[in-house]
């Protein structure tokens, strides 16, 4: 356990919204090993983004956070802003969904990358600029010297996301969190960016956390998959185990996410397996399993008691009273 790069233990985040408590993350634990890729999958509101923002120290002061998140043994939660800034960028970095909004529209992209380098390292302006152009090359931006002097609006969505990745990589972090980083991009651009991320991971020996709602992305690019629902981890397993032939999916929720991904093999007008209902209200979570109201095989005990997330097979954890057999394939 000591060789884990990031170790998150019983992380919990609550917000007070309009006089009610919203439990965004409710007791989440996972580890990320150096150089590996972890995918955190869930619908909107499942707490996957809040979870990673808490690790990055990016949540507003109104959030109540408990638990621990240790990066190479040093605690990240509860750090002062100055200490966080040291970690952010040099140890962990984050790429967001919306590259258009994450970049300053009034500054040339080169200046923004140079700034990012200078905040973390004591280097001269000239040196920082050289490194910035190298970073642009690193993220395979053609004609890097020319792009260096352009403004964000002159770049396409994919190029902007490359610039964001360049900024995130400015200090060679050990962990990169990509929060829906390819969701707003076209499929062809998404494939390019994902491939770039994996190549950079190899080159720089980084660990990667992919936050996404897309099971396909997790299956194609992750080593380990964590499925979140209503603030909790409901299933965790190596990708090969979860998606491989004779898949070992145990949670009906994971199965449903997998089935809902459009398949090219299915004939036209094929009726999709459907899960009714919608995620529970985060201000009033049910006492039992939070997926029980939508689950086809829910029984009385599911409504009464919440199942714990236990390691039932090596590397495979799930939280279900009645796990499905044969991967739940219909």
């Amino acid at each position: 356990m000591t060789d884990a790069l990031l170790q998150v233990d019983d992380l919990r985040v609550s917000f007070a919204v309009g006089g009610l408590e919203v439990r965004a993350v409710d007791g989440v634990s996972f580890t990320v090993d150096p150089g590996r890729t972890l995918a955190i999958i869930g619908e909107s509101g499942s707490g996957k983004t809040v979870c990673c923002r808490a690790i990055m120290g990016l949540l507003p002061g109104t959030a109540a956070i408990s638990g621990s998140a240790r990066l190479r043994g040093s605690e990240l939660l509860g750090l002062s802003d100055a200490e966080l800034r040291r970690h952010r960028g040099s140890d962990v970095a984050m790429v967001f969904q919306d590259p258009a909004r994450s970049l300053n529209p009034t500054m040339r992209v080169g200046v923004q990358i140079t700034e990012a380098i200078k905040t973390h390292r004591a280097v001269s302006r000239r040196e920082a600029q050289t490194q910035a152009i190298e970073l642009l090359r690193l993220v395979r931006i053609p004609a890097a010297e020319r792009r260096f002097h352009e403004y964000p609006h002159q770049l396409s969505g994919g190029m902007r996301q490359r610039v964001m990745i360049a900024i995130a990589l400015a200090c060679r972090p050990k962990l990169l969190i990509a929060d829906e980083a390819t969701t707003s991009l076209d499929v062809t651009t998404q494939a390019q960016i994902m491939e770039l991320l994996l190549e950079l991971q190899q080159e720089l020996d980084m660990a990667l956390i992919l936050i996404s709602h897309d099971m396909g992305l997790a299956a194609s690019y992750a080593d380990e998959v964590v499925v979140m629902y209503a603030g909790k981890i409901v299933e965790q397993a190596p990708a090969m185990r979860l998606f491989g032939t004779g898949g070992a999916v145990r949670m009906r929720y994971t199965r449903a996410l997998l089935d809902a991904v459009p398949h090219l093999e299915r004939p036209a007008h094929y009726p999709l397996p459907v899960v009714g209902g919608r995620p529970p209200d985060p201000t009033a979570l049910p006492p039992g399993c939070s997926f029980a109201p939508r689950c086809a095989s829910a029984a009385d005990d599911c409504v009464a008691k919440a199942p714990a997330l236990l390691e039932h097979a090596p590397g495979h954890r799930w939280a279900c009273w009645h796990p499905c057999e044969n991967g739940g394939a219909a």
Partner: protein, 299 residues
């Protein structure tokens, strides 16, 4: 694949529900603060309106115009004159009440005229666009370019001071202000998908304006108007102060300040009392506007 799932351990390992991370006092404080932000200014304004318009109907107030020189310059908390009297012996509380009536009458009328005329122009300009927008926008520009106070002075000078003329003069200021706000809001709204959806669903012309545009811009206009009412009260005070507003001897907050200013060092309360009423009323209007904006989520 054989997965060891010992049912016994499962049954015994039900985790207790995790305790709340947010303490309940903070949640209560949040709810209370939200309620107070709305009801403190609203309550104060209701009290002010009741004082100005209901009080004189229920109780017999001393005249706000004529005073008895025998009772002149009485200090606050004197019997029968709890805010005292001025140098002419006129009851200050009566002046505040009747001055307040005028302040509210003028500011509300001006704002209503502004909403109806300015808002109408703004909606038509914003919705129909093209040359209609160009013409109406230029008219609003011309009006906004007029210095409102100077125009009010000219109207008062030419037509003679009266409440009606004050309303007229200040409307010239309110109409373009509201007109531009409404036009902007309509333009933003027109580009939204639900407007396209309404048009494609077959709804047309005036029905779109009445049923889609007006309800959507109304919250914004109401909050903006509350700020507007405050500004108009100040402008009305300024006109009175300059002697071009409500004709003497009728009481108004502005003229009270103007008269009190002559004896400012000897009797600062003549200036202070109307100023405080003016200030607190305007602040309450602004606070109410902000609280409503928060509730309705208006930008």
């Amino acid at each position: 694949m054989a997965v060891p799932t010992p049912d016994v351990t499962l049954a015994t390992r039900v985790p207790p529900p995790l305790p709340s991370l947010v303490n309940s006092r903070r949640l209560r404080t949040q709810r209370l603060g939200r309620a107070l932000r709305l009801w403190v200014p609203a309550g104060f304004l209701i009290l002010m309106l009741a004082m100005c318009f209901l009080w004189p109907l229920v109780y017999n107030l001393p005249s706000s115009v004529n005073g008895n020189i025998i009772y002149s310059s009485e200090p606050p908390f004197s019997p029968g004159h709890w805010l005292g009297t001025n140098t002419l012996g006129v009851d200050i509380f009566s002046q505040i009440v009747y001055g307040g009536q005028i302040a509210f009458e003028v500011s509300v009328s001006v704002t209503v005229i502004g909403i109806v005329v300015g808002g109408g122009i703004g909606i038509i300009a914003g919705y129909f666009g093209g040359w209609i927008d160009a013409v109406l926008s230029r008219i609003l520009d011309v009006l906004i370019a007029f210095p409102a106070l100077v125009l009010a002075l000219v109207i008062a000078e030419g037509l003679g001071p009266s409440e009606m003329h004050v309303i007229l003069a200040l409307s010239v200021f309110a109409i373009p202000a509201l007109g531009r706000v409404v036009r902007g809001a309509t333009l933003t709204l027109r580009a939204l998908p639900f407007m396209t959806a309404a048009r494609l669903a077959g709804t047309r012309g005036w029905r779109i304006i009445v049923r889609h545009i007006v309800p959507n811009i109304l919250p914004g206009i109401v909050t903006f108007s509350l700020l507007g009412i405050g500004i108009v009260i100040i402008l009305e005070g300024a006109l009175d102060f300059l002697g071009y507003g409500i004709p003497l001897p009728e009481a108004s907050w502005g003229s009270m300040i103007a008269q009190g200013q002559q004896v400012l060092t000897a009797q600062p309360e003549y200036v202070l009392i109307p100023s405080i009423f003016l200030l607190v009323t305007v602040v309450a209007l602004n606070m109410l506007g902000d609280a409503l904006r928060e509730r309705w989520g208006v930008q």
